[in-house]
C-alpha cells in the first residue's frame, strides 16, 4: 500500500452526519480521520443553512413579535436600506462558537482533521486534494460518506447568485430586497419567504403544489399561508416558473408556465437539493448513485460497496440535521458491531418559518389511511392564555389519536415555540402515554404547554360524541 496511510475509519464530510460518525468511531477506540473541504467541521448546517438563516430569523421574529405584542403602541418599520449583515450581528459569534465546539470535540476524541477534497481511488481508498494542490492517500477499514447536499442547479433558471439566488447565496445579499419571488414551496423556501416578509419584503411564493409544504398537515399550512398574506406576501400555487431573467438594471422578470410574469428585485430559487458527489468518484468504490443522484443504502446505511456506509443528505430525505446525526452514529455502530439501541422512529420535524411549525408521529391523513379513521383534538392558541399574552393567538396544536381516541399517534403544532413544544408530544409517543395522561397532567400556567391539555380534552369530547353516534 505504497503512499497510503491507514486509519480504522475514514469519514468524508464534516457536517452533522459525518461529525457524529467520527465521534462515535473515536469513542469506540478506533483511529479516525475526518476529511472536510472547508476550514472546520459543521457543514452547510453551520455556514449556509440552519445557523445563518436562524440568525436572520431571530431579528425578523423580534420585528414581527414587537408588531404583534405592542398592540399598536409602537410603529415597527424596517428601513429599506438596512444592511442584511447588520441584522445578523451575532452570526459570526454564533458560528464561531459552534465551530470551536465541534473542533474541540474532534480534538478531545483524538480525531484527525484533514482539510481537502476527497475522491475514491479504490474500494476503501481515498485520495485527498489539499488547498495547496498537495495530495494524500488514506485507506480505511470503514469509510463513511457524509458529503451532504447543495441547492439544485436548474436548467431553466440561471442562478447568478447576484439577482437570482439560491439558499447558499441568499444571505450574501447586501440589502433587504423590496420584493422577492421565491420559487419552491418546501421547507427552505417557506422559511426564507416568511423571514423576508416579516422584514418588510413583498414576497411571492410560487410552487407547483396547491399549497406550500405539501407533506405538512393542511390545517397547519393554512395558518402559515394566512400569516404570509397578513405580512403582505402571496402564495401562487399550481404554477411553475419557466424562466427568471434579470433585466440588467433593477428587476428580475419571472415568467410562469401560463405566461404570467412576476417582477421582483430578487428571486430565490429553492426547488430541491442534490447530493454532493461531484469529484468523489464513488464509482471507484463500486457505488452507483440512483436516478435522483443519491447514494443507495440499506436500513443500516450500508452502500453496495463492502465497508462503505453513507449517511445524511447524501442518501436523501428527510435531510434533517437531527436525523443525519443519528444516522452517522448508527452507521458506525453497525459497522463496528456495537448495539446502536432501539431505532428511533419518532423523529420530530421543525420548520423555522414565521410562524414556526413542527410535527411528530403521524398526521390526521396518515392516521385515517392507516387506521381507517382518527380522533383529532385541537387547541387553538386563542384558547390559551399564553397565546394571547405572547401575541400568538393564531397558533394551533393538533393531537391525532387512534380511532378509539385513547392512543396518541401524532402531534402537529403551528405558532411560535412549536419546535420546542412538539417535544412533549414526542416524549409521550416514545413512552406510549395515553391521551388521558394529558388530561390528568397539570402544566404551568400560563404556558403554551396547556395546549396539550386542551387538545386532549377535545379528543375526549370527540370520542364520546363518536361513541354516542355509533351507539
Amino acid at each position: 500500500m505504497t503512499g497510503f496511510v491507514h486509519r480504522d475509519v475514514v469519514v468524508i464530510g464534516g457536517g452533522p452526519a459525518g461529525h457524529k460518525a467520527a465521534i462515535q468511531a473515536a469513542k469506540a477506540g478506533r483511529s479516525v480521520v475526518l476529511i472536510e473541504r472547508e476550514a472546520s467541521a459543521g457543514g452547510a448546517c453551520v455556514r449556509q443553512g440552519t445557523i445563518p438563516s436562524k440568525a436572520l430569523r431571530e431579528t425578523a421574529l423580534a420585528v414581527d413579535g414587537l408588531r404583534r405584542r405592542s398592540g399598536g403602541v409602537f410603529s415597527v418599520e424596517v428601513r429599506e436600506d438596512l444592511l442584511i449583515s447588520s441584522l445578523m450581528t451575532r452570526l459570526d459569534d454564533v458560528v464561531g462558537a459552534h465551530e470551536r465546539f465541534l473542533s474541540g470535540q474532534l480534538s478531545r476524541n483524538g480525531i484527525e482533521f484533514w482539510r481537502g477534497r476527497a475522491r475514491f481511488i479504490g474500494p476503501r481508498d481515498v485520495e485527498v486534494l489539499g488547498l495547496g494542490g498537495e495530495r494524500r492517500r488514506v485507506r480505511g477499514d470503514l469509510v463513511v460518506i457524509a458529503t451532504g447536499s447543495r441547492p439544485r442547479n436548474p436548467k431553466e433558471i440561471a442562478v447568478d447568485h447576484e439577482h437570482v439566488l439560491d439558499s447558499d447565496s441568499i444571505l450574501s445579499l447586501t440589502w433587504i430586497p423590496r420584493s422577492l419571488v421565491v420559487l419552491g414551496g418546501g421547507v427552505i423556501a417557506c422559511e426564507y419567504a416568511s423571514i423576508f416578509a416579516a422584514l418588510g419584503t413583498k414576497v411571492t411564493v410560487v410552487d407547483s403544489g396547491p399549497r406550500p409544504l405539501g407533506f405538512v398537515d393542511p390545517e397547519i399550512t393554512e395558518r402559515f399561508t394566512a400569516s404570509l398574506v397578513a405580512m403582505g406576501g402571496a402564495f401562487v400555487g399550481g404554477r411553475r416558473a419557466r424562466s427568471a431573467v434579470w433585466d440588467g438594471a433593477s428587476t428580475v422578470v419571472t415568467t410562469l408556465d401560463d405566461g404570467e410574469t412576476l417582477r421582483s428585485e430578487r428571486v430565490l430559487f429553492a426547488l430541491g437539493r442534490v447530493a454532493c458527489l461531484e469529484g468523489l468518484d464513488v464509482a471507484a468504490a463500486g457505488i452507483v448513485p440512483d436516478a435522483r443522484g443519491l447514494v443507495p443504502v440499506d436500513a443500516n446505511y450500508r452502500t453496495a460497496a463492502e465497508g462503505v456506509y453513507a449517511v445524511g443528505d447524501v442518501i436523501g430525505p428527510p435531510s434533517l440535521a437531527s436525523t443525519s446525526m443519528e444516522q452517522g452514529r448508527r452507521a458506525v455502530c453497525h459497522a463496528l458491531g456495537l448495539d446502536p439501541g432501539p431505532s428511533i422512529d419518532t423523529i420530530p420535524v421543525g420548520i423555522y418559518a414565521i410562524p414556526e411549525m413542527a410535527s411528530v408521529g403521524i398526521s390526521e391523513a396518515q392516521a385515517i389511511e392507516r387506521h381507517g379513521s382518527a380522533v383529532v383534538g385541537r387547541a387553538p392558541f386563542s384558547e390559551i392564555a399564553r397565546g394571547h399574552i405572547s401575541g400568538n393567538p393564531d397558533g394551533l396544536l393538533k393531537m391525532v389519536a387512534d380511532p378509539c381516541g385513547h392512543r396518541l399517534l401524532g402531534v402537529q403544532v403551528v405558532g411560535e415555540g412549536a419546535a420546542e413544544l412538539v417535544h412533549i408530544g414526542q416524549m409521550a409517543l416514545c413512552a406510549g402515554l395515553p391521551i388521558e395522561f394529558f388530561v390528568e397532567t397539570i402544566f404551568n400556567f400560563p404556558t403554551l404547554a396547556e395546549a396539550y391539555r386542551v387538545a386532549a380534552l377535545d379528543v375526549v369530547k370527540r370520542r364520546r360524541v363518536a361513541a354516542a353516534a355509533a351507539a
Partner: protein, 274 residues
Amino acid sequence: MTAIAARDLLAERLESGALSLPLLPDVAREVALATSDPDADASRIAPLLRRDQALAGHVLRVANSPMYRPASPIVSLEQALARLGMDAVRRIAFAVACEAGVFRVPGREKEVRALFAHALAAAAFAQEIARARRWNVEEAFLAGLLHDVGQPVILQGLADIEQDTGRLDAEAADAISHELHGWVGEKLVLVWNLPARLAAVARYHHSPSDAADAARLAWIVALADVLAHHLRGEVGLGGIGVHPAAAEIGLYPDEVEAILERADAVRGLVEAMS
C-alpha cells in the same frame, strides 16, 4: 525636486483635499444622453456607469451625500440609481463631464487607461470569485473596481507637481504610487462615504490579513488582482491556482482554473467598457 519631496508634497495636497478624481468624459456624456432619453431603458444606465470607476464613485458619493441622507451607506449602483432617479444621475453625469473637461493628466493617459482596465478586470474576477463561494457579488465587484483607485489620484497629483518641478522619472513615480496608493485609496473611499470595508480593501489589498473585518473581501481582491495581472500578461499561470489568497478564500486549484476560464469574458468586458 527629489522623489521624497514630491511624495511629501503630494501627501500634503491630498491631506488638504485639493485633488479630485480622474474622469472619463465620454462615459459621463453617454450617461447624460441615455438618461435624457424619455424612452431610456433603465437597464442601459447601470452598465454605462460601471464603465467608469470615477463616475461610478461619483454617483455613489452623491447617493451617500447628506442631500439624500441614506441611513446606511449605499454600495450598489443599482441601489444608487433607484435612489437618485434618472434626473439626478443625469445631473451628476453632466457635472462630471464638465469637471472632466478641465481634468487632464498630461502624458499619463496610457497609464490611466491601463489602470482603469486593470480595475475593471479585477472587479470582474472578484465578482466571479464571490459567485463561486456564494458570497456577496455586488460588494466584491465594487471592491475590485476601487482597490487601486488611489493610483489615478496619485498620477494626477504628480502631474500637478511636475508642472513646477519637471517630470519625475517613471521609476520614482511608480515607487510613490506603490507606497501611497493604498493610503490614498482608503482616504478617497472614506471621503466618498462608502463603507469602511471598501476603504479597508483599498488600503490592505496587498496585505489582506491586516484588513480586520474586511479580510475576506481583501483576500478576494488580492486574488482578483493577481488574476487581472495575469490577464495583462504580467503574471504567469504557474502557482496562481495555489496562491495563498486562493487558500485563504477556500478555493481549490481547479476552482481557480475554472474562474480563469472566464478570462475571455472578462477581457471582453474590459474591452467593452474601456
